[in-house]
């Protein structure tokens, strides 16, 4: 396997990451914009995600449906995702069609039309997407917890947006959001696959070199003050099953403590898969919370979510309550386990095991080209590519004392929101 990389920036500010991989006749191309729900406020919550939908409505050069057809015809895939800090668009195509990726992304970086009738047609599609989410207890509970966990920061809103905003956002608000954030200086282009770097540099220049920039964007994001005490939320909803989510304010991905928290999470709830586009991950049956709660028959499932974000976000423990127990009993058992973590340092052996697991997960993440291209751009949304390359090294430096300090710091009850989803039916 011969991999070669080249990272550089165009004069208009577009960051470019290229990686040659010649294992399959495929190229995966990603464009990342530093815009997500982090850049929204009440009135336009959900705008970043809606803009992403509008980017598939066609331009003068590539009318609606044209690209769907061209990409599907060759068996390629293309899609997009919007999250807290970013919006990304990708195509994975036969290598001889990489030019199409460059051309279409350069085109829709500036030429999308946002026609009013299409904006309105998409309004009902997105409301339908939100209603699909609202069918899920986890979404309802998560939304309530985010709102309680932040007073100032836009992380208090779900990426899909508040329903009242989805009903009222105007075409001009969406178009303004697009014009502000879809700028080469606010984007990164990442390609991995079967190409020659020298030729790809020329193609990138030809497609993106002339796109004008307004210069780097410095968004004005409110900073959040500490929670200052435990908060609680309760959501009543349909069903027979109760859920508990306990969310702690967590360090941002660029904070060195993030790696210590990654080790802590691995010991508490099992290692998280780094892999978005392939088989990967392991189970969490030997983790501390699984043993205490699921084997202890207090909950029927248990997993942790730690997310790499630009600003401090949340580390969440998610539990499905056993039908013969209560959410309060789940919370008490979790607290008993967390106390052990805060009372005494973990062993070096436990940390070594977590690192070995992380290395395996890393190997899975190199199994396909789409996933390698994903990592090539993703980490720039909250840190830089070194974050990815040195990930295992950073984990290896974590000491038992670090884990103890971070456990006491992050897992402090004054730093959390406890959410209960209480079902309207009961299992009797």
């Amino acid at each position: 396997m011969t991999d070669q990389t080249h990272f550089y920036t165009l004069p208009n500010g577009l960051t470019v990451h290229l990686k040659e991989i010649h294992t399959a006749p495929i190229v995966s191309s990603w464009v990342w914009y530093k815009v997500g729900s982090r850049n929204e406020h009440p009135g336009i919550t959900g705008a970043s995600h809606w803009v992403e939908h509008m980017q598939f409505k066609g331009t003068e050069k590539y009318p609606a449906g044209y690209l769907d057809r061209e990409i599907s015809r060759v068996g390629g895939i293309w899609n997009a995702m919007t999250y807290l800090d970013w919006t990304t668009y990708f195509q994975t195509l036969p290598a001889n069609l990489a030019d199409l990726s460059l051309s279409l992304e350069a085109d829709r970086m500036v030429n999308s039309r946002f026609q009013p009738e299409e904006v309105n047609m998409e309004r009902t599609v997105i409301i339908s997407e939100r209603e699909g989410n609202e069918n899920q207890p986890h979404f309802l509970l998560g939304e309530a917890i985010q709102a309680a966990a932040f007073d100032q920061h836009p992380y208090r809103y779900e990426v899909i947006g508040l329903k009242q905003d989805l009903e009222t956002i105007t075409r001009d608000q969406l178009y303004g959001h697009y014009q502000r954030y879809y700028d080469p200086a606010n984007a990164i282009l990442a390609l991995a696959g079967d190409f020659e770097i020298k030729q790809m540099v020329d193609k990138v220049q030809a497609n993106f070199g002339e796109i004008p920039t307004q210069g780097p964007i410095k968004p004005d994001i409110p900073t959040e003050t500490p929670l200052g005490g435990e908060r609680r939320v309760t959501v009543d909803g349909p069903g027979q099953t109760a859920y508990v989510q306990i969310s702690y304010r967590a360090p941002s991905a660029s904070d060195l403590d993030f790696f210590g928290l990654t080790v802590l999470d691995s010991l508490l709830t099992g290692p998280s898969s780094l892999n978005m586009f392939g088989s990967g991950g392991t189970t969490n049956k030997t983790s501390r919370l699984y043993r205490a709660l699921v084997e202890g028959e207090i909950s029927v499932s248990c997993f942790g979510t730690l997310q790499a974000t630009h600003d401090p976000y949340l580390y969440a423990l998610n539990l499905t309550v056993h039908p013969e127990h209560t959410p309060e009993e789940v919370l008490q058992t979790v607290d008993d386990e967390l106390k052990k973590m805060m009372d005494a340092p973990v062993t070096r052996e436990e940390i070594a095991r977590a690192i070995k697991q992380a290395k395996a997960l890393f190997a899975y993440s190199s199994e396909n080209i789409s996933n390698q291209a994903f990592w090539l751009g993703y980490t720039d949304m909250f840190a830089d590519y070194d974050w990815f390359q040195n990930y295992v090294n950073h984990l290896a430096k974590v000491t038992p004392e670090d884990v103890l300090r971070i456990a006491r710091d992050v897992l402090n009850p004054n730093n959390r929101v406890v959410g209960f989803y209480l079902p309207e039916e009961s299992l009797s």
């Binding site: 699909g132 069918n135 099953t241 030997t286 029927v300 697991q357």
Partner: protein, 416 residues
């Protein structure tokens, strides 16, 4: 492209078939397999038995309890899982390639020496019952279940593999032991290993772990009855209060995977509800009407009868409009052949997508198992372009008319 030149295939004297292919692009491997067990053996009053048995194989074995087994697996960042369908019980694993023998040994341990410990049995049964409580609130799962009950009426496929609350409650630990003894054995077990090990090394690892497995009491799969055709349209509605969105599953019966009708319908289905932004259904229901975030069609064909489904998630007040639009697309599909352009687009997709499908070890392993299960031959991917090219618009038209009758659709809706 995987083919006879680089796929190793060997059948052992005890009935196990091994398929292996090397891929040294990353230091990982994927192991997948199945054997002829499944919910077809479940008595009606204990439906869910096969599902619970498969899920209990990792609870404990002669040499490991639950924690020590998972400690072996999780310590090396690997994953092993067992599951059950109607006609098969299956397993799936991935690991670093250096751990081939460890993982193969643990799969064999679970397959050959499960002990079904009492305490773990009760815990898993309660987890399964909670899963059913969650299923009863899932509009998509419930619409799909109602659809299957109607489209496969009188056939084992009409029953959900995970059973119902009362049938799972009726299952005892002894039932698992008996079910395991009757249906688990080497006969018909097929296993595929793909990754950074030489094919022969993989074959040898399976031989070492499972070559001497024997179960003289292993029963063959029972014959399943023929499926009666749908005589009249069926509509099923289920109210799940407090939900925001309804799910619709509608459609008809479809042929088995080996039928000559399969390829015309597979390409026809792509045109109806897959190609680009979910095909003709996506254009009508999402793009032109703004009614749904997801709407698509799906052809499921395996052994025995299949189903051809149109699926959408819509606001409850838009259900009838969405159903009407999908019926209209079904009518159009059997009124006039697809256009030359649509046919050419879809055929091009089926030819073009192989490199992506076969990029990951797991993707290749699934393909190897399908080659064996459906008797497609090791040269399947070499013959594949000819099969695709042979499909014509007329053939899709004739075949669709054979199965899809817009006046006899089954429509299942679950929502508020």
């Amino acid at each position: 492209m995987p083919g006879p030149d680089d796929i190793a295939r060997e059948t052992l004297p005890n009935g196990i078939t091994i398929l292996a292919r090397a891929n040294f692009n990353s230091p990982t491997l994927s192991i997948r397999g199945y054997l002829p067990s499944g919910s077809i053996f479940d008595p009606d009053e204990k439906l869910g038995l096969s599902y619970l048995t498969a899920n209990s194989l990792m609870s404990g074995t002669t040499h490991y309890d639950f924690q020590s087994l998972y400690n072996e697996i999780e310590s090396v960042g690997a994953k092993i899982g067992f599951s059950s369908g109607t006609l098969t019980s299956a397993f799936s694993a991935h690991s670093l390639s250096e751990d081939l023998n460890l993982i193969m040994g643990l799969i064999a341990e679970c397959l050959r020496r499960p002990t079904f410990p009492d305490r773990d049995f009760n815990r898993l049964k309660m987890q399964m019952l909670t899963g059913l409580a969650i299923r009863s609130q899932d509009t998509a799962a419930m619409a799909s279940m109602l659809f299957d009950q109607a489209v496969f009426a009188g056939h084992p496929y009409e029953r959900p593999d995970d059973g119902y609350v009362e049938t799972v409650q009726a299952i005892e630990r002894e039932d698992l032991v008996n079910f395991y003894q009757r249906t688990f054995g080497p006969k018909g077990l097929t296993i595929a290993i793909v990754g950074a090990v030489e094919a022969q090394t993989a074959v040898d690892a399976v031989k070492a772990a499972l070559g001497d497995w024997d179960n003289p009491g292993q029963e063959p799969l029972p014959d399943f009855p023929p499926l009666a055709p749908v005589a009249k349209p069926i509509r099923k509605d289920l109210t799940i209060t407090g939900k925001y969105q309804a799910d619709v599953v509608m459609g008809c019966q479809a042929p088995e995977r080996l039928s000559p009708d399969y390829f015309p319908l597979r390409i026809g289905n792509n045109i109806l509800g897959e190609f680009g932004m979910m095909g003709r259904l996506g254009k009508s229901v999402r793009e032109d009407s703004g009614l749904a975030y997801y709407v698509y069609s799906n052809l499921s064909s395996s052994l025995g009868p299949g189903a051809w489904e149109m699926i959408a998630g819509v606001n409850a007040r838009n259900v009838e409009q969405a159903v009407d639009l999908m019926v209209a697309e079904a009518q159009r599909f059997v009124s006039e052949p697809v256009s030359a352009e649509e046919l050419d687009d879809s055929k091009s997709l089926f030819l073009g997508r192989l490199p992506l499908m076969l990029e990951s070890n797991g993707g290749v392993a699934i393909s190897l198992l399908n080659m064996e299960r459906f008797d497609l031959g090791l040269d399947y991917f070499i013959q594949y372009p000819e099969k695709i090219k042979a499909v014509t618009a007329e053939k899709i038209f004739e075949t669709s008319r054979k199965y899809l009758d817009p006046d006899k659709l089954i429509v299942a809706v679950a929502g508020p």
